[in-house]
Amino acid sequence: MSSRTVIALTLVASALAGASPALAQAPADTTTTTATTTTEGGTTTTTVETTTAQALPPAPKPQEEQIPRLDERTAFMVGRNTLKLGILAFEYGILRQLSIGTEPPAWAARAVVDVLVPNFHVKFQFLERDPIWLALKVSGYYARLDKNGVDGHLIDVPISLFATAKAHSRFYLHGEATYIFARVQGTGDLSKAQFNGGAPIRAGQLGLMLQYRLTRIFSLTATGRYQVYVADIPFEGSSSVDPYTTATMTGQLTPGIKHPWEVIGGIAVLWKHFHMVVGGGYGYYFLPGLNIANTSKTFVPDLSLAVVL
């Protein structure tokens, strides 16, 4: 076997061993030894030259942090000292595992329903052990109700547990379990103070998102959401019909659709400083953040744009 053949085999073996990134980055270290055999009496002289090429240690893999992560409706976080300004959420990472934020859609709802809904949320990642991440998010929404004879307020507190599992280097499962608690308090005709008849006071919802990362920034997503439980909405109110007559109403509102659902397919493009999630599906549209479902099945849009600073 010639020395060139030996060198070639060594390089192939190194390549099969997974050292190709190293090849691309630096030349291999080589060691050359020469053995000489001399036969006296005859005149045979054999010289064997052996060259050993040693590859450099494999280049370190890109840090997971360098791959932008989908941090909405997942257990991933926005990151320490990071501000994200998006159409679905304003988020600021106080710590790597703790962020606070607010959701613009709830504020913007005033343009449609003439009710201001200030809101705030805290997200805490309490387990970060690749390939499992767990996070808890507690949100609070407040709405003042002072129309149509109603004088009261609504407090909505969704509590979400997010679990993310990396099933494969490119494939993620993002699970979500949300419990929604809300209370209407006040006087007047509170039975009319409902969001198109679909404001759950106590509800449990499950969500699952499959994310397949095609490239470093581009992913395919498939999302499903299902309301597994909803309680009736209690209310009580009294009013004067005339100076002689007072009326008291005590009751509950049973949501027309107890188990709304939605399925959405989409893409996620996650650059370092810009995130975009676009998709579409079918089912009962859940208001982002509030997680209140529409009362009829329809096309479900999914759009999230955010600048990450």
């Binding site: 039975s191 019909v241 109403m249």
Partner: protein, 274 residues
């Protein structure tokens, strides 16, 4: 980290448990005498009395006596007025008012108890706020079950003073004095035969009354039922082995299972009308 994670999970579980325990589910009251009331409604549609010339005079006499108890020229007005107040409240809340209409599917459905507390008008026209201690009150209860109004409502009259001006008399026959100062005590079951009325003219319901009525100085225990359809009032009298239905008009129309008679109240003379 493990301790922190466990703590957070425990806290979350505690919060969820505390919220979950805050469950409130309304239990609707049972309408009183529901089965008996429905039988009575059916009876008004199909009287069971067997009437003939031999027993119609007695039926007419009984009807006349019952007419005195019912006070058709003022009692139905009290009930209709109460129902009109209920209607106003139901309309305010977009709450169903027709017991025969089916709730729309896939819509949020209301289940509720509506209580109407009405201070009675009294015997005078008070210039100031009505005085419940003097005038008494009526308390009406209506229920809506999963988006459908129950046709049966019920009420309690507590020393309810009612004055009826003659101008508002709805009956064609004025049996009582021209001005009635009455006091009601007792229970009423009201079965709606149409939507809760917006005005007295729209009223269509059946009433069962048990209690006492004081008119002037006379207090009588009374137990009777009658049906109101607009300005028409019907009531029931036992006759001919069953019940006959009497319609108040310029004469008394007495209907049995087999025949109908028209009776002059003053002369107590009856003629077959069928």
């Amino acid at each position: 980290m493990k301790r922190t994670a466990a703590g957070v999970l425990l806290s979350a579980a505690a919060v969820a448990l505390a919220i979950g325990c805050d469950q409130e589910t309304i239990t609707l009251p049972e309408p009183p005498m529901a089965a008996e009331t429905q039988q009575l409604v059916a009876l008004y549609d199909a009287p069971t009395a067997t009437l003939n010339v031999g027993n119609i005079q007695q039926a007419a006499a009984d009807a006349r006596a019952r007419l005195q108890d019912i006070g058709p020229d003022w009692f139905p007005g009290v009930v209709s007025d109460l129902l009109v107040r209920l209607r106003a409240r139901l309309d305010d809340g977009s709450i169903p008012t027709d017991p025969t209409s089916e709730p729309k599917s896939k819509r949020a459905q209301l289940t509720l108890v509506a209580n109407i507390h009405r201070i009675c008008a009294g015997w005078d026209d008070p210039a100031s706020a009505p005085d419940e201690a003097t005038n008494g009150a009526l308390d009406l209860t209506a229920i809506v079950d999963t988006g459908q109004l129950n046709p049966e409502a019920w009420a309690t009259a507590t020393a309810c003073r009612v004055r009826v001006p003659p101008a508002s008399s709805s009956g064609a026959i004025v049996v009582a004095p021209t001005v009635v100062n009455a006091t009601l005590d007792g229970t009423l079951i009201i079965y709606l035969l149409a939507p809760v009325p917006s005005t007295a003219a729209d009223a269509n319901y059946l009433v069962i009354f048990n209690g006492s009525i004081t008119t002037g100085d006379q207090t009588k225990s009374a137990s009777f039922d009658f049906e109101v359809d607009g300005t028409s009032v019907k009531f029931r009298v036992p006759a001919g082995g069953g019940d006959a239905i009497v319609t108040i008009g310029t004469t008394l129309g007495i209907q049995g299972a087999n025949a109908s008679f028209s009776c002059d109240l003053t002369a107590l003379s009856c003629q077959s009308s069928s």
